[in-house]
Each structure stands twice: as C-alpha cells, then as structure tokens.
C-alpha cells in the first residue's frame, strides 16, 4: 500500500457537494479511489460488504434526510469490522452549531469536524495525518 494515499468514501445528499468532493480529491492526487453515496444507509451496506485492508477516509455530511450523520456514525460503530482502525470518519458540514460539534466529538471513530467547502488543503491534512 502506497503511503500518503487513501480510499475515500463520500456520504453526501447534495449533488454539487459530491461533485466538489470528488473533484477536490482528484485534484489533490491523494485518492486511490473515491466512492460517493447519496444515502448513509447505502454507504453502511457497502462498508460492511467490502472491508478494506488500506486506509479509508470517510467524509459524512451531518444534515441528511433519512439517516443523518450522527445516526450513520452510531451504526458504523456497531458494524462488525476487523479492520476498524483503518477507517477514519470526518464530518463535513455547513453546520456552525457548537452543540453539533460537541456531540460528534463523543464518537471515537470520528477524527474531526470539518467545515465545508472541502479543499485540497483539507485533503492533504487528513491524508498526512493518516500516513504511517
């Protein structure tokens, strides 16, 4: 596994933001792959069935219909994953609510609370953090 690169999973219901995320990851050159889900439940399903053996960075929006970001993280933490440590979740949101921020900190699998828009700088930071 090449260092300084990761597989990305984007969970976002807004199409423009999906486009921005995909393109930004592409521009950063840090992505081995990038899969987009418009619904959190589909992402959970995918993660459960395709357990990774390399670093995975998950960007999840907090405000989404049906399953929101909090619910996603809750369900993710209940998944029976043997390589759980390879997954890093970052919430990516337009929320400026401090309470959201405090609440998401409670989840051990959430490594950061990022504000939109996603930029190459952000990608570089989260991938650097992940590099061995």
């Amino acid at each position: 596994m090449e260092t300084g690169r990761a597989d990305f999973i984007i969970i976002e219901d807004n199409k423009v933001d999906c486009f921005i995320a995909e393109k930004t990851i592409q521009n950063s050159g840090k992505g081995n792959s990038c899969i987009i889900f418009s619904q959190a439940a589909l992402a959970l399903d995918y993660i459960e069935k395709h357990e990774s053996d390399g670093q995975v960075i998950i960007f999840v929006d907090i405000q989404m219909p049906r399953m929101n970001g909090f619910e996603f993280v809750e369900s993710f933490e209940r998944l029976p994953l043997s390589n759980r440590h390879l997954y890093r979740i970052y919430t990516l949101t337009s929320s400026i609510n401090e309470r959201d921020r405090e609440r998401i900190k409670m989840f051990p699998s959430v490594k950061g609370f990022l504000n939109k828009p996603l930029t190459v700088d952000i990608i570089n930071q989260v991938v650097q953090v992940n590099s061995p």
Partner: protein, 385 residues
C-alpha cells in the same frame, strides 16, 4: 336590567339545599347555574363544564372549608374566578384567602341579589381579561418559538448553497483562466464570503437567544490554541502580528460556545479594522484568569472608533464605518452573551490609534436579571478595575 340570559356559567356550592334552591331561583334566568352540595359534586361540574367562569363556595361546609376547597382545585382549574360565601364573621381566614390569591371576592351571608349580580359581572370581566391575556401570551410564545426555529433552520439551509458555490470556486481556481475571468471569480467569492459572514452572525444571534449555558472546565491555553488555528492564517494573510498571552491558572469554568463567539467577534473586528497603510499592524489577545473573574482583552492598533460612536457600538445593526463589511450583529451578540454570563465589556478607543476591548467574566456565576441593564461599562481606562 338586561333580561336576556347571558352566556355566563356559574357554579354554586353550599351544603344547605335551601340555599342552593334560592340561588337558582334568583339567577336562573340570567346565567347558566350549576349547583353542588359538596366538593365532589362541584369537581364533577368543573370537569364536565369547562366554561364555568365563576365559582361561589360556602366557607363552612362539613369536612372541608370553602378556602380549602378553592386551594385544592386551583391547580387543576385555574381559570374560573373564585368567590367565597360566608355567614360567619371568620374575617381572618377570608383576608388570608384573599391575600393568598385564593379568592377574588367574598360575599356575606345572607347575601342579597344585587351583590351577587354585581360580583358575577365583575368576576366575568376579570375572567375574560385573564383568558384573553393567557391566549395572547400563548400566541406570542408560539410566535417567538417559531421565529427562533425559522431563523435557526434558515441559517443552516442558506449556508449549504453558499458553501457549494465557494467549493466550486475553489475548484475553478485550479483551472487556468484569463486574468479577467479570474478577477470576476474573485468577486463572486468575495460576495459569497460576505453573505456567509452575515448568515453566521445571524446564526450566532439566534443561538444566543435560544441558548442554554453549559458550564464546563475550560483550558485557557487550549482556547488560545483554537483561536490561533482560526486566526493565524488571517494574521499572516493580512500581515498583522498576532500576539497571544495568558496569565493566571490555566483552567476556569464557563460556557465554551459563548466564549468562542465573544472571541471570534472581537478578533475578527480587530483584524478587520486595521489601518491599510500601517506597517506595524498588531492584534493582541490576552486571557488572564483570576480567582473571581477571567479577563479577556483584545487590543489592536487599527482605525479605532470615533468617540461619538462609542456609546452605540453595542446596538443592533449599528455600524460605525462603511470601510469594511459588517452585519451590525457582532458586538450586539457579544453584549447579549456577556449579559447571560453576568459579565461586562469595556471599550476604550482612539481614532487612528486602535481599540481595546476588555471582557470580564465572573467565575462564580450568579444569575443576573435583564433588568440590571446592558452590562456595559464605558471606560477610558486602559487597565485597572
């Protein structure tokens, strides 16, 4: 007298059936009358006829006094007006009952028709006013709540698309375009950032209004670190030296989101209102934790505030300058928060020399009512208490 039967509903409670009969005989053409010989019957009427607006109750009944009965039903049926009827000179208990707000009036036994009629009219007036007030209050409460909800969710919903635009602009910057296009993209970005700034302060405004305070242990150094992460890039971009100082204990108890809003507003102002040409631009943040209060001082050597504007800078929508973009919300929000925390803010400023904002937050939190005033102290003193 108007002989048309009014829609007033009256409950009369007395353990002597004769009294009940004579009451009904007198008033059955004027009002809808319900009769009860004891508390149980009376409660049954109140349950079944929620529009009863006046209750007369005899003070001396077997097992229970009228005052005791009123006290008992007051919580469950707060709206009907309570009138005590007493044939004894137990004036003490009547006074006590009136003073405690348990009864509206009392009628002496044997009662005369005119007294009762007058009392019913008065009680009904009181009942209607109270009911109207209650209804208006509920409507107001609801409107407030809805407005808060709306503003709160609107700020969220409005930011989404703005951030999408900013994201796309970020991508556009990686694609080579002509200088003119680049310039125009820059204009779009600037306008979007302004709009976003405005929405953010709107959001702050409403989160303060809704806000419950959660006091937690706050580490001053962490706070300075967080603030640094946010403003160091701004400082280097604007070529301002950003000095951060701390003294006293590292930790203190306060509401972190509130403090962050205060700091964000004071610092963003300090960075924003710099003198363009100055070569020694400086912003200083100093947090001193004492035994009774935490003092946060934000100073700059920027454009300063004209003396005659100083009293107004904490007013909503007030803007002292058009030189930079502002929402007119920022310092108003700061003052609002400090009111909640029981703190104060002082400002001293000289035009073209800079401003010093000094925030004091008591560490033992005592709730202070809003009636205490703005919590603002204007002062020319730079330091000192």
């Amino acid at each position: 007298m108007d002989k048309l039967k009014s829609d007033i509903e009256v409950l009369f409670i007395d353990d002597e059936p004769n009294n009940l009969i004579s009451f009904k005989a007198c008033f059955r053409f004027d009002y809808t009358i319900y009769l009860a010989v004891n508390a149980e019957e009376a409660e049954k009427h109140l349950r079944e006829h929620p529009s009863i607006s006046v209750i007369f109750c005899d003070q001396r009944m077997p097992g229970k006094t009228g005052v005791a009965f009123f006290e008992e039903i007051r919580d469950r049926y707060p709206d009907p007006i309570r009138v005590l009827v007493t044939g004894y000179a137990d004036i003490e208990s009547v006074i006590a009952a009136i003073n405690k707000g348990q009864v509206f009036r009392y009628i002496k036994k044997p009662w005369i028709e005119a007294d009762i009629a007058l009392t019913i009219q008065e009680a009904q007036k009181f009942y209607l006013t109270a009911a109207l007030l209650k209804k208006k209050n509920q409507a107001l409460e609801k409107a407030y709540h809805e407005l808060d909800q709306f503003a709160y969710s609107a700020t969220h919903d409005m930011r989404g698309p703005i951030l999408s635009v900013l994201g796309v602009i970020e991508l556009l910057k990686t694609i080579p375009v002509s200088a003119e296009t680049g310039e125009m993209i820059g204009m779009i970005e600037k306008a979007m950032l302004k709009l976003d700034g405005y929405i953010k302060s709107l959001h702050e405004h409403y989160s303060i209004r809704r806000g419950e305070l959660h006091f937690t242990e706050i580490n001053a150094l962490d706070l300075i670190g967080d603030v640094g992460a946010l403003y160091d890039p701004v400082a280097s971009l604007k070529q301002v030296s950003f000095i951060k100082k701390h003294s006293g204990p590292e930790t203190f108890r306060s509401d972190l989101p509130s403090l962050k809003i205060v700091l964000a507003n004071l610092l963003s102002n300090a960075f924003k209102y710099q003198r363009e040409q100055a070569s020694d631009k400086r912003v200083e943040l100093e947090i001193s934790v004492g035994s009774h209060e935490a003092v946060i001082r934000v100073s700059d050597n920027g454009i300063g505030i004209p003396e005659n504007d100083l009293p107004d800078i904490f007013e909503i929508f007030f803007r002292a300058t058009t030189a930079e973009y502002g929402s007119g919300f920022g310092l108003y929000n700061v003052r609002d928060i400090l009111n909640k925390l029981g703190g104060t803010i002082e400002v001293s400023s000289k035009e073209n020399q800079g401003s010093v904002f000094t925030v004091r937050i008591p560490l033992m939190f005592f709730h202070r009512g809003r009636s205490r005033g703005s919590g603002i102290v204007q002062s020319d003193r730079l330091r000192g208490r």
